[in-house]
């Protein structure tokens, strides 16, 4: 399974990417929403496989996470991409906004790797373990 991690912090991209790789994902990353759209557009144009999961930070320069969620949701070709906000924005109203915009799940920073895996499990996006 493949994930796209979008966060303006390289440290967070590495932390989230590391958790995803430990769970069996391959990972691509982007530093903001516009860069993420460039990745998705290029993948679509090349006929490549879109990410199964997009982990999206909220507060980013150029294009923030909420705008990105709306842009992904608006494109029918990208409907299969599951979007999870990964953010410090924890107020109820913000969570409602994100889910209304099209996000499928919400992860509040800080989080443990186990809590992250639990969210993916809820989404049915925990890669199956290789048979022995």
């Amino acid at each position: 399974m493949h994930a796209l991690v979008i966060d303006d912090s390289r440290a967070m991209r590495r932390i989230v990417g590391g958790i995803l790789k430990d769970l069996g994902y391959t990972v691509t990353d982007a530093a903001h929403g516009r860069e993420a759209l460039d990745v998705l557009e290029a993948t679509t144009a090349e006929g490549g496989a879109l990410p199964d999961l997009a982990c999206i930070d909220w507060n980013m320069p150029v294009m923030d996470g909420l705008q990105l969620v709306g842009a992904i949701r608006a494109n029918p070709a990208w409907r299969a991409v599951t979007m999870m906000m990964v953010t410090t924005e924890s107020e109820h109203g913000q969570i409602v906004r994100a889910l209304a915009a099209g996000a499928h799940e919400y992860m509040i920073k800080p989080f443990t790797p186990d809590a992250f895996a639990d969210k993916l499990s809820l989404l049915g996006l925990l890669p199956q373990a290789e048979p022995a």
Binding site: A11, M12, R14, I15, T88, P110, F111
Partner: protein
């Protein structure tokens, strides 16, 4: 409408937040130790990272530590090997993210909607000044670190002052 943040956010809450942030970002075994009896003696090359909180209370959440500590923290956040070369940009990014996550969680304690700015990093003196609401002097891996909440507007201010008038409306 203004907000008296000191009623909503205290030192213990900020310490709890910081502890969770450290164990999540730097590693589950990492701890922050309060220095109750003495201030954190920060070196002259101290770096600060901060995020602004804008709303009924406006202020800054500031993380300050020595340059070498910031580098060590960066190595921990990036899970970088001891021999991996890290850049000033890496340090700026990592310290900024720490301030971002601490600041975001502090913001969540406020009862009124607020906006969190993007993290900024500079030398210690460049951080926003203002009335200190909370200051935590801490030790991480034996090195000093300071976390503070600072109001960038006077707390409890309800609006522009108007001169008192007498009962007949004369100033």
């Amino acid at each position: 409408m203004s907000l008296d943040v000191s009623v909503l956010v205290g030192a213990e809450q900020v310490l709890d937040i910081a502890g969770d942030v450290w164990s999540s970002l730097a590693g589950p075994e990492e701890v922050l130790v309060p220095l109750p009896a003495s201030p954190a003696h920060l070196p002259l090359d101290a770096l600060s990272a901060w995020v602004l909180v804008l709303g009924p209370w406006s202020g800054a959440v500031v993380v300050t530590t020595g340059a070498s500590t910031a580098l060590e923290l960066t190595r921990a956040l990036l899970r970088a090997a001891d021999d991996e070369e890290l850049t000033a940009e890496d340090v700026t990014d990592a310290l900024g993210e720490v301030a971002n996550v601490v600041g975001g969680n502090v913001k969540s304690l406020l009862t009124a909607p607020s906006v969190l700015g993007l993290p900024q990093v500079g030398h210690g003196m460049e951080a926003p000044t203002g009335e200190v609401v909370v200051q935590l002097d801490l030790s991480w891996r034996g090195q000093p670190l300071c976390l503070s909440l600072r109001s960038t507007a006077p707390t409890g201010v309800r609006g522009p002052r108007t001169p008192p008038t007498d009962p007949e409306g004369q100033p």
